[in-house]
Symmetry: C2
Subunit: 342 residues, 2 copies
């Protein structure tokens, strides 16, 4: 009989998924947004094994951020309806997408250049990407009709519009988040009137149940969650941490002793744009290339494992080759992070 691997035996730093919390997040979403009402964003996990579980819950259409995500999803047999919700102007990669025989690919466009490049590469379907208040990609809502006409003139099918209210998804006050989402979505609905096509794709984990104007929601973080989203009033639980080993303890090692401890989870294991990670029952002081420095309330010993909760899951996952999947303290599976890169 094989020895059972425990979380505390993993080589660290290690991404660890709590499968019970993960399954619960999947179930909550399935119950609230069955079927095509959700188009899960794979950029949050970059892992086809997770996408497979989302598909098993009835979410068969996916959102991607990079050509490699689209190609990997197609290769995994999950290419039924893939939206590349990003502007791409590299002919070589667009041609690779157009050549996929096992996927339906729709790409975001927000300019004549992106439309012409997509058409030349042989892609067939687009969504018009609309600026709904987040200064990033997306056309002015009033330009959506003109761009849709241009796309149709180039032989492309316009399936509808998309517009991400990313400037709102983190607003803590729910009423304000709701009011601001409505304003954004009025812009998107106006663009939808002008562009036609029917799809109104928007939303993220922060507005997953607030955005009632879009007809499909692009949430991705809900399935693993992170500290940033944990500040909101969401029914999803943080289901992923980085397991780290304490390697050094100084001056007693605790808050009350005026000491600290160091564990082996650093900048190359954590997305840092949303700030330092969280360690329960501890103050986190800083993160260096291979270290997190923290003062726990209770003493920790060298060799002990701690849970480091990432503040932003997407760029955290992108650093790791695999996720270890645990039920309680037992490792039950390993998932490859197989959609990394571009």
């Amino acid at each position: 009989m094989l020895a059972r691997v425990k979380v505390q035996d993993l080589r660290t730093p290690a991404l660890v998924v709590d499968i019970d919390d993960f399954d619960r997040n999947i179930d909550v979403m399935r119950a609230a947004h069955p079927g095509p009402r959700l188009r899960p964003h794979v950029k949050a996990h970059k892992t086809t094994e997770i996408a497979r579980r989302q598909a098993a819950a009835g979410h068969l259409d996916f959102t991607c951020a990079t050509p490699r995500e689209v190609i990997g999803m197609a290769a995994a047999g999950l290419g039924g309806d893939l939206l590349l919700a990003n502007e791409v102007v590299d002919p070589e990669r667009l041609e690779a997408l157009a050549a996929l025989t096992d996927a339906r690919v729709t790409i975001a466009v927000d300019s004549e250049v992106t439309i012409d490049t997509a058409a030349r590469a042989g892609l067939r379907e687009v969504l018009v990407d609309v600026n709904v208040g987040l200064p990033r990609c997306g056309c002015d809502p009033e330009d959506a009709g003109r761009l849709a006409d241009h796309a149709r003139a180039r032989g492309l099918t316009v399936r509808g519009v998309m517009g991400y209210e990313g400037h709102i998804v983190g607003v803590e006050d729910r009423a304000l988040r709701s009011a601001e989402t409505e304003k954004s979505m009025q812009l998107l609905l106006r663009a939808s009137e002008l562009a036609g096509g029917g799809i109104v794709s928007a939303g993220g984990t922060g507005t997953w149940d607030i955005n009632v104007w879009a007809n499909e929601i692009q949430a991705g973080s809900y399935v693993l969650m992170d500290n940033a989203y944990a500040h909101l009033d969401l029914p999803f639980k943080r289901a992923m941490h980085v397991s780290a080993t304490v390697v050094s303890v100084s001056k007693g090692g605790t808050v009350s002793s005026g000491g600290w401890a160091v564990a082996d989870c650093g900048l190359k294991a954590l997305g840092m744009d949303h700030g330092d990670p969280v360690i329960d029952g501890a103050i986190v002081w800083s993160v260096n290339d291979e270290h997190v420095i923290f003062s726990p309330e209770e003493p920790v010993a060298i060799g002990e494992r701690i849970k480091v909760w990432p503040s932003h899951i997407d760029p955290t996952v992108a650093y790791h080759e695999r996720m270890q999947v645990a039920r309680g303290d037992e490792v039950v599976e390993t998932w490859e992070v197989d959609l990394r890169g571009w």
Copy 2:
């Protein structure tokens, strides 16, 4: 005849090394710190092809931050004298290091536990890691003798001490940086007296020529550099950028038009702990998963390539599978980032 690949033809985002600036950085360091006076830190580049060039410049001893870096350096034939300047307590990986037949491995220790674990794994040589003011790993200087004795009692050879003045390397005022370095190094010299062994290993790119107390310098960033170090009065040039493609332009796209542009270099292509990257001649507004949003002074066109200068090179490199090496705008080589992971 093969077509020449230009930087503007690279698939983006792409790490690009300017080989002339890189060679110049190597030459400046070789001239100032010939031979074993420098023990280059490979964590800054994680690339054996770069280490090979450092070795060709006479720097044959290296500093590593992870077991995988040590093992990869040994496999590349660069294992003559490798310092793992980090505490590791995983018996399996320590045993793998002890089993290397093609490398001399010295490991940092700062506690009885790390010493005992190293000895049990079969490692033979250690440096006593000393806290010289950076609250991270490292023992109290007054404990260095006791730990050295403990190591010797366990059959280990104590080669000396190390202590990183990481809290000082970024101080902009050179006189203050120098004064603070001296204070730190007095602590390390005291520890050296107590521990013996002879090696006094310290320093980083910010104190490369200031730290005259250590007898070997662990600088790593000097070879590629980044925005954070570019603030200092150093003779090294930023030799690496991320090449990105403009994918969207809004409202005229420039500072004066009140517009912005978006390029495909986001959080999964950049270490963000030292803040936003720099784009010459532009204001950088924000970075999202796959995008940098910026307002250039002069208009940029969709499809145009821009240079994105990372603020922290170490966690930037760790996201990428390879570096493209360019002389002017021509790609002359590709280097695999082959020391990633742990």
